[in-house]
């Protein structure tokens, strides 16, 4: 590729970047990317608040409790037994609860809510007429548990929906969006090879998608860690491969943008209506586990899944359609996954370049 081509590609990227990053119509992509950040941030704030409340309870407690003490309480125990085992509750309040006694009758029963904590776990007891009638246990969340939840959200939501639809918006807009705007001729009337135009637009889309979604991944990770002490974070990062996991998530995000970007760029060139390819790709990706071995390799999720740091098992209560969407294809080696995904993307872009060469401007058809 000579220097003119690079000059042209950089000129195209500059023009496209403005549209991709600062367009009002692209705001929803930022929302897609920021939604999980907000979610993890909220989670951390809630946990920080609850942790503070538990610490206060420990300070107010008559005695130092252990997890074993807390979980030794059962339904039906008398209030005296509870006090004997756990001491006077550090937090206690009384509420009147309406109890149904018949179809049209009810009585009001005063209920004492007693809370205990060992600093990490919390036990809330409902006591009526001197006996325990309800128990609610809440355990403090460990970084290990949260990193597993993060892995699940990353694989089943962020990767398969947020990045998927984000790339759909960004990369479809590159050609199909310009046709709808009736501005694609701007490029087609310049001495730029159509293939160069496609590469320039793809790189611009990739840059935008990568920046938006990688930033989101990093922010999600940071938001998740906010609730933990510095020592816990340092240990996780140094000894439990925290940094390696974060790098893996960032790498998978970039590869997802490369893969889905190539598919949606091609789809934007080949189809007038993005619903058809979007639905088709969604179904194709979902059907990946049941596809023959050769066809499996022509999907993006096949490679991405193998690169994620955690293997996530499915929630048994998940609806069949969603379960199919979230099912795990068998893993393959990291290098095969990376090169396989890049190869699929290049193949798709090659197919798109054939189409872009024959592209005609017929805005009225859109």
């Amino acid at each position: 590729m000579n220097s003119l081509f690079w000059t042209q590609i950089s000129a195209i990227v500059r023009i496209e970047m403005k549209k991709t990053f600062f367009a009002k119509r692209g705001l929803w992509i930022y929302l897609l990317a920021l939604a999980p950040v907000a979610l993890f941030f909220t989670h951390s704030m809630v946990e920080i608040h609850e942790h503070g409340a538990r610490r206060q309870m420990v300070q107010k407690s008559a005695r130092q409790l252990t997890e074993r003490d807390l979980f030794s309480i059962g339904i039906g125990m008398s209030r005296e037994d509870v006090i004997a085992r756990l001491g006077e509750p550090p937090v206690s309040r009384t509420r009147n609860r309406r109890m149904r006694t018949g179809r049209h009758s009810s009585i009001i029963v005063p209920t004492e809510i007693m809370s205990y904590s060992d600093g990490n776990n919390e036990l809330v007891l409902a006591v009526q007429n001197g006996a325990v009638t309800g128990i609610q246990k809440a355990s403090g969340i460990s970084l290990g548990q949260d990193s597993y939840v993060f892995a699940g959200v990353f694989q089943f939501f962020f990767l398969r929906l947020a990045i998927f639809f984000g790339c759909l918006g960004i990369f479809m807009n590159l050609f199909r969006g310009e046709m709808l705007d009736k501005s694609l001729h701007f490029y087609l009337l310049t001495p730029v090879r159509r293939e160069i135009l496609m590469i320039g637009k793809y790189l611009a889309g990739l840059l935008a998608a990568t920046v938006i979604f990688s930033t989101s991944t990093a922010l999600q990770f940071i938001a998740l860690l906010l609730q933990f002490d510095a020592a816990v974070i340092a240990q996780y990062m140094d000894q439990n491969h925290g940094l390696a996991q974060m790098a893996a998530y960032l790498g998978v995000t970039v590869l997802a943008c490369i893969g889905y970007g190539s598919i949606f760029l091609a789809a934007g060139l080949l189809f007038r209506n993005p619903i058809v390819p979007a639905a088709a790709v969604l179904i194709w990706e979902a059907a990946n586990p049941v596809l023959p071995a050769l066809l499996k390799k022509f999907s993006i999720i096949y490679y991405l899944k193998s690169l994620c740091p955690f293997e996530i098992t499915l929630d048994p209560g998940m609806p069949p359609l969603f379960a199919l969407l979230a099912s795990n294809p068998e893993p393959i080696s990291r290098y095969i996954a990376i090169f396989g995904l890049l190869a699929v993307s290049i193949l798709v872009l090659l197919a798109a370049s054939k189409r872009v060469r024959r592209l005609e401007i017929n805005y009225s058809a859109d």
Partner: protein, 286 residues
């Protein structure tokens, strides 16, 4: 002084009743809808499953044939609330796809081409316009959800007798009400997006995103915040909670039925508000 020959006479003949004028929009949109071969073929495909169910009911009643085929004496399938609940699940998925095809094209072209003002300067009110447009989805989706559902119900009733019908009349109600809830959610979401996004195809993509992203993000909320309230933004889950109740399915739904109704009511009201707000901007003040 100019003398103008008064040759113009306004139309003084009979006109259609005011209440039925919105149907003009329905007829026009329906014709457009079935002009597309792809959409017509898809609509026909949507009727395959009800046909399959019909064959199942028929086969179920002819035990001899079934015994011959399966060499077992038990019932081939139980035609009960569960059967119709599954029927509605499948048809709802088809209804969603059909809405994603046709819904976004109902209002956005009128806005993009400035036709909305032309419509509203006729004796056609904002409500009638919305009614006309929504009736396209309502009637089309009805033909693939509750209408064939009721046909299946009555076929089964004709086979099993009046007692079965009387005992299971609630199923007919569940089919109709369950379908109408889903149709209302789909129609209003599609029209609201169609009114707010100039591009038909972007509105279609947003509709896909609304349902899939809502479901995914709802589950992410549940996983991260250890709650069940995330289902409040999962429209398909909310509707399935209502169906769960209507079809008297066993098991505990993740949210209460009243929560599901309130969330859906809030969502549909918001869609209606968005739709009316967008159309009001083009209304001709008389």
């Amino acid at each position: 002084m100019a003398v103008y020959k008064r040759s113009y006479r306004p139309y003084s003949g009979e006109t259609t009743p005011v209440w039925s004028r919105f149907l003009v929009l329905y007829r026009f949109s329906r014709r457009n809808l079935f002009r597309s071969k792809v959409q017509t073929v898809f609509f026909v495909i949507c009727l395959f499953f009800p046909l399959l169910c019909l064959l199942g009911i028929y086969a179920n009643s002819h035990l001899n044939a079934i015994t011959f085929l399966s060499r077992s004496t038990g019932p081939f399938l139980d035609v009960n609330g569960r059967f119709f609940s599954i029927y509605l699940d499948v048809q709802a998925a088809f209804a969603f796809l059909l809405t994603a095809f046709i819904g976004p094209g109902l209002v956005s072209p009128d806005l993009a081409n400035g036709a909305l003002t032309l419509y509203l300067c006729r004796p056609l009110s904002r409500t009638e316009y919305v009614l006309g447009k929504i009736s396209v989805l309502f009637i089309t989706l009805s033909w693939m959800t509750w209408v064939p559902g009721l046909v299946l119900f009555f076929v089964q009733a004709s086979i099993s007798g009046w007692q079965w019908m009387w005992d299971n009349l609630w199923i007919a109600g569940a089919i109709v009400l369950g379908s109408l809830v889903w149709i209302a959610v789909l129609s209003l979401a599609a029209l609201a997006l169609s009114a707010w996004v100039r591009w038909r195809i972007v509105a279609g993509a947003l509709l896909l995103g609304l349902f899939f992203f809502g479901a995914g993000f709802g589950r992410a909320i549940n996983a991260v915040l250890r709650t069940q309230q995330g289902y409040l933004i999962d429209l398909s889950q909310l509707v399935s909670i209502i169906w769960h109740d209507l079809f008297r399915d066993a098991g505990e739904p993740p949210l209460s039925v009243s929560e599901a109704w309130i969330a859906l009511l809030a969502f549909t009201s918001f869609c209606l508000y968005l739709l009316m707000r967008k159309i009001r901007a083009n209304e001709v003040v008389r």
